[in-house]
């Protein structure tokens, strides 16, 4: 792959001075790929955590116990009304400082690394939005529909799994897509705690090659393509799950 494009980008550098070093230098190329891989893994982990929190939180919001509902409401208020970067720094430096270190056979490493803290912090941030998104999806499921299942003998659990969840998920897909795209962008904050994702990799490259504008362009392009892919995938999912004739 690199062999194919390297001559072109080398000539581009020689003739115009535009230095896209990852496209001809194998070391920078591997740094770019590594950064992209970590970025995608990070986003996937963050989205997964935020979805799990969203489902659990939306369930907890319907709890009969007032303190439970109260905790969910407080969680949502706190994490939606403070900047995600403050949350990230709080988790990494605040909680990170008091989590135990593990013996790695001679040297010590924190039990949760920067990648782990980024997943936790941004996942919890995204989850606070997902709770509200799932809740509105669940609320959009007509009582009449769940009542029909109830009168056919479905238990509450079966109603939730087979009726409420599949319908709520469809109803909230558009809002969920927005939040996932937003989380993919927010994941770039992990840069500030030195998670070796794309921004971090590129910053390594530009400090070695002094090609900041070119790498910035690359970074922009990366996110544009990534977001387009996510949006496309979600649109496909939406089409696949669409209910024929419904809502027309």
């Amino acid at each position: 792959m690199l062999d194919l494009i390297a001559p072109y980008f080398e000539r581009l550098y020689d003739t115009t001075g535009l230095n896209f070093s990852p496209f001809y230098d194998s070391y920078d190329w591997s740094r770019l790929l590594e950064g992209m891989l970590v970025s995608v893994k990070l986003i996937a982990a963050i989205v997964a955590v935020s979805l799990v929190i969203g489902v659990i939180g939306a369930g907890a919001q319907t709890s009969r116990l007032r303190p439970v509902r109260w905790c969910v409401a407080a969680y949502i208020e706190i994490f939606r009304n403070t900047p995600p970067i403050v949350q990230l720094l709080f988790f990494y430096f605040g909680l990170g400082a008091i989590t135990p270190q593990v013996d790695m056979g001679g040297w010590y490493e924190p039990m949760i690394g920067s990648f782990g803290w980024a997943v936790i912090a941004i996942g919890i941030f995204g989850g606070s939005y997902n709770v509200e998104i799932f809740r509105s999806g669940v609320e959009a499921v007509p009582t009449a529909t769940t009542e029909a299942a109830e009168s056919l003998g479905f238990s509450n659990f079966k109603i939730f799994v087979y009726i409420t969840l599949p319908l709520a998920f469809r109803f909230c897909l558009p809002a969920l897509t927005n939040n996932i795209v937003s989380l993919a962008k927010t994941a770039s904050l992990a840069y500030v705690i030195a998670v070796p994702e794309i921004t971090y990799s590129l910053s390594g490259i530009w400090s070695d090659n002094v090609n900041v504008p070119e790498m910035m362009l690359l970074l922009f392009t990366y996110y544009i393509v990534l977001v387009a892919i996510i949006a496309k995938a979600m649109a496909l999912l939406e089409r696949k799950l669409a209910l024929p004739g419904y809502g027309q």
């Binding site: 007509p142 029909a148 109830e150 056919l152 004739g245």
Partner: protein
Amino acid sequence: MTPSENWTPDQPIVALRDVHKSFGTFEVLKGIDLTVMKGEVVCIIGPSGSGKSTLIRTINGLTPVTRGSVQVEGQEVHDGNLDKLALRRKVGIVFQQYNLFPHRTVLQNVMMAPLLVLRENRKEVEARARELLAKVQLHGKENAYPAELSGGQQQRVAIARSLCMRPDVMLFDEVTAALDPETVGEVLLTIKQLAADGMTCILVTHEMGFAREISDRVYFTDAGRICESGPPASLFDNPQDPRTQEFLSKVL
């Protein structure tokens, strides 16, 4: 819910005694007495807001009663120890708005409860579901989604869905009220066949001609009470209660 020890088929299959229901301070049912024998077809008529839906929903336990007794095959419905599942497999209900599962095909709608709730064999359930769909004239619509069907077709799916649980009693709550006039007939025909097959049916309806034709007994309700009941001929042709007279003069 195994039928209570001392219930025999010659006793009422559904029996309501002095049923009261309040929503907050608003009393919707003010002492309802009603008994239905196995194989009987009973219609409940009355002005809207008189508590007909509430009444019919107490029979399968969807709406809890405030006071009084509801028994199905001798078993008290509003009793903490009731096996809800056993009640629901005995009593089917069809609603005004069909309430099908929009994310499942017609066939899946009909098969879901026997598969998930009764855990019956898939092949048997599917054969039964297809047979029921053919019976309600929906052959060929098995793989359609509810929203692709007309109201009358959806309502017939809802009937088939209830019947697939093989209930002993069917409740119908104004099942033609939301339908276009031209599809009302097909749904009424389905119910008529069901009644002819010996199914015990309790219907809330505004179709007076249909009520007169199909029922063994008609109940007229107003403001949470049963004002008058009797065989359709006498209730429709010779109503005794002034409220029944007034209601019938408006709707007939």
